[in-house]
Amino acid sequence: MNALAILDHSFGETYAKRLGVAPWSGALPGPKVEEWRFTPLRALAKVPFVPAPVDAAIGSIPGNVPTIPGAARLVLVNGAYRKDLSDANLGKGVEISQGKVPAKEGSSLVALNAAYAPASLAVHVSGAAKKIIHIISIGAAASTPAALHPRITVTAENGSAITLVESHVGLPGQAYFSNPVTSITVGEGASVRRYVSVDETNEAFHLATTLVKVSGGGHFEAFHLGLGGALTRQEIRIALTGENAEVRLNGAYALSGHSHHDFTTVMDHQVPHCSSSQVFKGVAGGESRGVYQGRIHVARDAQKTDARQLHKALFLSRGPQIDCKPELEIYADDVQCAHGATTGEIDPNHMFYLAARGIDPDTARRLLIEGFLAESMDDISELAVREQFGAALTAWLARYGTAQP
């Protein structure tokens, strides 16, 4: 099954009619599509989604959105930019506009987004941005399951610099499907830092695609946190298109209950003299499933590439499943490429060490899990974000981290 049939009112003609646009002619990837082998979409295809109302009333921003001091907030509700909820003052160097969604070919999910996204929120960066820009995407389904297609475009001009924070949350209630697409262009010598946290409700589907292009001498630093959601996939595709580009892509997930989280990354080294590193860490409890699949592609002429990739996962209980597929595809000889992957549980020796020092088992477990996840967060160079994301993980551990296997 290379494609999944969907109900007509989920993304079909009825769906398109409600939005008053031309219908999407694609299909969701089926279980036989290699890139989706660990993340089946059958459950998603069965839900009769309707377009999420773009003018949904929002009382306040959900509490699980981190507070970043001094950041300017841009709020999207069900994919639509909401001026009434957003900060007006974005600081020097940043301008936003609402543009048409580029109907560019991509994966079927990107095409789905292109078909139904209300508009693209375009963030234009020139020079060094003064403020952190915090984009908050809220999913709010009314009485029926709803789908939203946020679209964000970030253009960092040559030599510019910006820090972005992206939070994906939802209002409790009905199931919703968030299908955000973020495309980022890092200009020559520009520096973009992007920190994403996905903390959707327990009923939510979240399939995000990030497309990044890093030009010569550009620097891209990203961290992705995955906490909630019934089914979450964060797909990050990065192309290094200019020499001396540098990418640091890290992530962490913490899963409980029946949640399913998938990190899929593609690091495409197209030119020589670039470097990339990836560190992904995950902990899984309950009956959850954690997936990491990462591909490093080094093109024929991309000599002197330095690419690294690491995924480590920790079981917190007996139920979870962890699937991992780190992939190297290399066509140049003068390169340094490596990957590593491990799975296992907390080392009893470590527990013993802490117990011998009078630390109770629950605290010891939390300490060890926090320490395990910390490696992926150490590279977050924006201190305020590191603290906030760290706090979110600590809160998660307080709730789920103590369950004995």
């Binding site: 597929k325 780190p326 992939e327 595809e329 000889d333 390169v335 490429c337 590593g340």
Partner: protein
């Protein structure tokens, strides 16, 4: 420095493809193509029991339903194979032989060129050879001695006559007829192969060995090997291949099944240097092999070692199913691709039992315009408490026109199971090369030496008889890749 001199000598020693010659022996062929009649013909020719024919036909009928399911997921590119254009049965003219004297002298000559130790003095080497020439085994040596000890080592067609109960019990129990496209085809049309049974508690005193050789033009080789190590036994089995030079692609789809019962150990070593095609990728063998071992019993062990230097296409994943508690699976592999060769090879370690352990060491070397892929699966089942896996995949690239790829799958469903995987890709260090050149070695010798060092971990797991040959092969395979 002994190794250096040996390797250097080997490189000088061999021009082009050493084993590229064709022996002209009239074959008793079945007509070209594949149908139920051909399968009945093969079965009748082998005087097989009725159940065997039924099994073949069942596989064939299933294979027909797979027409659209020829695997395409591997990183391999080759023209579509016309399965009706091949001969499925070819045997040397004379079949029943009483002694070596009756063996066709031409055949003996061929073996001599291949260096198969078939004659008396080779007893010193401790190798019993079940030589497979095309599809029918014509000579089996040391049979008597092994027989006395209770070891059954014979062509599988003979085993079907003499020990049908054993064959029936185990054939298809590791690789069922419905396993995959190529294995299913093999079930339907396999002509011969080796059968080994090691009785309880016996440590097989000699390395069992077979040489496969594709000879008859247009004959696909469909070998079937079945090895059973009963409780507490041990066997080491060697498989080596050479093939004559040909312009047409030759198809090979073998199936190997290993079964290790309680406390048994099977060591299976392969050196594969079939014709890889010429520098432009013309000719060469298509090698689609299904090899799988089942560690059925407690504390059993299966160890695969392979040195893959030949074939234009290699599709091969020797695997272990670790069912018995505390069973062990090991996979050591060197895959060398040069010119236009393509290899997609690796292993599967399926951990089902408690305390099972597996180790994967894979070394891929890619030169010329070749592509070399490691593809492996490590799966920890929910009941595999305390299971462990360690995987190391290293790739070496020689030249900027080749590719090296690593595609590991790690699936764990048990918190107490530990998996570790690491992989690196790099080229031959300029410093090492400079060091060798500065001491008066030629570039090719230096590369051969360095690559041998890179593969050492795997090569040293080979039995002595193979280790030397393998070391030479490493050098030979990389000829023309530098400078």
């Amino acid at each position: 420095m002994v190794a250096t001199r040996e390797t250097a000598a080997a490189v000088r020693d061999v021009e082009q493809y050493k084993y590229g010659f064709v022996t002209d022996i009239e074959s008793d062929k079945a007509p070209k193509g594949l149908s139920e009649d051909i399968i009945r013909f093969i079965s009748a020719k082998k005087n097989e029991p009725e159940w065997m024919l039924e099994w073949r036909l069942k596989a064939y009928r299933y294979w027909l339903t797979l027409a659209d399911e020829e695997p395409t997921w591997a990183k391999l590119h080759f023209p579509k194979i016309d399965y009706q254009a091949s001969y499925y049965y070819a045997a040397p003219k004379r079949e029943k032989l009483a002694s070596l004297d009756e063996v066709d002298p031409k055949l003996l000559e061929t073996y001599k060129k291949l260096g198969i130790p078939l004659l008396e003095q080779q007893m010193l080497a401790g190798v019993a050879v079940d030589a497979v020439f095309d599809s029918v085994s014509v000579a089996t040596t040391y049979k008597k001695k092994l027989e006395e000890m209770g070891v059954i080592f014979m062509p599988i067609s003979e085993a079907l006559q003499k020990h049908p109960e054993l064959v029936k019990k185990y054939l298809g129990s590791v690789v069922p007829y419905s396993d995959n496209f190529y294995a299913t085809l093999n079930c339907a049309v396999f002509t011969d192969g080796s059968f080994v049974y090691i009785p309880k508690g016996l440590r097989c005193p000699m390395e069992l060995s077979t040489y496969f050789r594709i000879n008859e033009k247009n004959t696909g080789q469909f070998e079937r090997t079945l090895i059973i190590a009963d409780e507490g036994s041990y066997v080491s089995y060697l498989e080596g291949c050479t093939a004559p030079q040909r312009d047409e692609n030759q198809l090979h789809a073998a199936v190997v099944e290993l079964i290790a019962l309680d406390d048994a150990e099977i060591k299976y070593s392969t050196v594969q240097n079939w014709y890889p095609g010429d520098a432009d990728g013309k000719g060469g063998i298509f090698n689609f092999v299904t090899k799988r071992g089942a560690c059925r019993g407690k504390n059993s062990k299966i160890m695969w070692t392979q040195v893959e230097t030949g074939s234009s296409i290699t599709w091969k994943y020797p695997s272990c199913i670790l069912q018995g508690d505390n069973s062990v699976g090991e996979f050591y592999s060197v895959a060398i691709t040069n010119n236009r060769q393509q290899a997609d090879t690796g292993t599967k370690m399926i951990h089902l039992g408690k305390g099972t352990r597996s180790k994967i060491i894979s070394k891929g070397i890619s030169a010329g315009r070749a592509d070399n892929t490691y593809r492996g699966l490590v799966r920890m089942g929910p009941k595999a408490d305390g299971a462990r896996n360690y995987t190391q995949c290293d790739s070496l690239l020689i030249g900027d026109k080749c590719g090296a790829h690593t595609v590991p799958y790690i699936e764990s469903r048990n918190p107490t199971a530990t998996t570790e995987h690491e992989a690196t890709t790099s080229k031959i260090s300029d410093d090492q090369l400079f060091y060798c050149l500065q001491r008066g070695m030629k570039q090719e010798e230096a590369v051969s030496l360095i690559v041998n060092g890179f593969c050492k971990e795997v090569l040293q797991t080979l039995p002595m008889e193979f280790a030397v040959e393998a070391q030479k092969l490493v050098g030979i395979s990389l000829e023309g890749s530098v400078g």
